[in-house]
Symmetry: C2
């Protein structure tokens, strides 16, 4: 058993994932990343491919993580894999886009949950990624809303007794409004970025919650609200 | 244009679907059924196969329904396709089962929504099928809960302006607790069936709501609550 604590970041090569990997590295953790491409700052990279089925991706990730841990436990399983696509019910691409959203957000979140069920240590945490708009209807982005609503409900399931997670673990989701990513800067050049949540702030929350500092209660859908460049958390029932 | 009113039942050969087809037949409607096998009581059967992708199933259903309607409009699109599978996050079959639940409940519901967007007439209605337990966590049936939560959120999207449905249409879901089906009788022989909802009662609601009798407001998640053999509706926020 290693004395270094280990965390897993699903989507560790995306803009947010990279920042989270960096945050855990800085805090002295060993970091495993799961993504389509390697993150050189991670200590172990598990690579998946777009051609895999859900079952194949799950098997690959479970096998590689089990081998990489060699019996060690994870302090946190954080899934920030995801994407965005629009379309209403009249849109020719609505089924294609719903399919893509399901794969990017729900496949990854459920596989992360299976990893947590097997490898999370005492007091560990699972954090998935939801979305504020999916708390209501999302008529112009139907597939995205369904996928994120499924992730929200998965958190409720994982936080309930007999979910398969260790009894003393916690499960929650972060619900960003808009993240301050290079892609969002590129595609929304005229937007007011003072309400966008900085990636470093999300990374800071992840490390703190893992270390049980200001960790929200299990089952929380934690909205990240940024106003005037200052980010705070808001529980979805407040 | 035909003077007979037409409805579409997705899942028209299942236990509940058959009862709904019968109910609309009795009320003088022309009924289209979409399912894996034909329902001889339907006026038109659109057959799908388990080997189709989501996109292929959508194309097949959209093509056949468009041809079958020859310009007529639908009074209602009702999706009662679905299934059930259990499993928590530690279960080896959880990904398989989540995949199945997604295909059975969400593929069908979204394809039904695309049909509604194209063919629903003025004042028409879309009814999808959710589940009471998925309003909260479902730790022992994780894939089922995610799929039904996605259907609930789809209803919220469809009921919102610019969803792609005709402006004056309504979208809602029925949320059964336990339906009184032959399968449930077989697998739960010792259960108290006085709280199970009779299929004929659901069929009656479908015909009434289509004819704008006691139709719940658009966006409703309508719980079907049966006590002592008597069924009533309860809105999910009551």
């Amino acid at each position: 058993m290693s004395s270094t604590k280990t965390v897993l970041v699903y989507g560790g090569s995306g803009a947010l994932g990279k920042e989270i990997v960096k945050g855990f590295n800085g805090a002295g953790y060993r970091v495993m990343s799961v993504d389509l491409v390697a993150n050189e700052e991670a200590n172990l990279n598990v690579l998946v491919t777009l051609s895999q089925s859900w079952q194949e991706q799950s098997r690959k990730v479970n096998d590689d993580v089990t081998a990489g841990l060699s019996g060690d436990k994870l302090s946190a399983v954080i899934c920030v894999a995801g994407g965005w696509a629009g379309g209403n019910a009249a849109d020719e691409s609505v089924v294609n886009n719903a399919d893509l959203m399901w794969k990017q957000s729900v496949w990854t979140s459920l596989i992360a949950a299976t990893i947590a069920a097997k490898h999370l240590g005492a007091g560990g945490i699972v954090v998935l990624t939801g979305a504020v708009p999916a708390l209501g209807g999302t008529p112009g982005m139907i597939g995205y809303g369904m996928a994120k609503a499924a992730v929200h409900q998965l958190v409720l399931s994982l936080a309930t007794k007999d979910s398969g997670l260790p009894d003393d673990s916690a499960a929650m989701a972060i619900l960003p409004m808009t993240l301050d990513t290079p892609m969002n800067r590129k595609f929304m050049p005229a937007a007011d970025t003072s309400t966008w949540t900085p990636l470093g702030k999300v990374s800071e929350y992840m490390v703190n919650w893992t270390e049980n500092k200001e960790r929200p209660v299990s089952g929380s859908l934690v909205q990240l609200v940024t106003v005037g460049g200052v980010t705070a958390v808001k529980m979805s029932d407040e």
